[in-house]
Symmetry: C2
Subunit: 172 residues, 2 copies
């Protein structure tokens, strides 16, 4: 289930995030203001702006998958220098392409792997704890906050855009 949660679902949500950005661009065009205003909008003066929320969502997905698979050293480095809509959309695209390199087999043994990161000062979580209590809530936090920044600023995004398409089947 790890590949489904982290690769397939995070890729889907990152695609939805790209759609929010397209909605933001359209809205800025209609209202005749620079879309960069939205990219630097925030919900509180000491909270990250939209572009930084997107960078962290991308890195949570990228490093979440890499640490669970034990391949963190091979993960691509992103310089966090994006300033335009095109650049942040490219960051999302690059993250999705990277996620697609993982298969179900990449995560064999991941739930039991001990996982650490520099800011934890030598402490660690099991892979399952890291996935459930850290990666998933962090990822949705930053995607939802990006959505909330746009929603608060009048961009016509809705809950259906956030969830994206569902693979419904006709009930038997």
């Amino acid at each position: 289930m790890i590949q489904t949660l982290v690769v397939r679902q995070f890729s889907k949500m990152l695609g939805n995030l790209t759609e929010f950005l397209n909605d933001a661009e359209k809205y800025a065009g209609e209202k005749k203001f620079d879309v960069a205003v939205l990219l630097h909008a925030r919900l509180a003066p000491d909270q990250f702006d939209l572009i930084q929320q997107i960078r962290i969502a991308c890195d949570t997905a990228k490093l979440g998958a890499a640490r669970l698979a034990g391949t963190e050293k091979d993960a691509p480095v992103h310089a966090d220098t994006e300033t335009t809509l095109a650049e942040i959309k490219a960051r999302i695209e690059s993250t999705v392409a990277y996620l697609h390199g993982f298969t179900a087999q990449s995560f064999a043994g991941a739930a039991e792997r001990r996982i650490t990161q520099p800011r934890w000062n030598g402490k660690s979580l099991s892979g399952e704890e890291f996935l459930v209590q850290h990666v998933i809530p962090n990822f949705y936090f930053h995607v939802t906050t990006a959505y909330a920044i746009l929603r608060h600023n009048g961009v016509p995004v809705g809950k259906k855009n956030y969830l994206g398409a569902m693979p419904y089947r006709d009930a038997a």
Copy 2:
């Protein structure tokens, strides 16, 4: 892993949400305004207010678990009539108590179960699709939006409060 994702982790997040509400109460006391102002705050005029975000987070957890376990008919009904801080905290507490009635065994076969709900007009998702693409993103959406409403209004909540305590171990 379904019990871990839906029972243990959602209960933890609902506990964190109660802590945000305690922070909101303290902040309102310090600033000498009625905490009900925060309970009815929202990020956009046509988005749900804080109290409704919390109700939906609770119901996403409750009905997510119940539908996955195939026991939706037995799920307690909440009337959505809370208006005070004490009442919405009791709603959270009641939801957590309900979640704790599920065991790992409750979700045997849940990933393959066909799941539907009235608004889907007879269509269905597999349990795994429902969990990964519907329950989890919806739950974190409403918890994060509740957090964002408080953060936007100056309540001193931070990312650590959102994630809650981590079961760190000293690395070997």
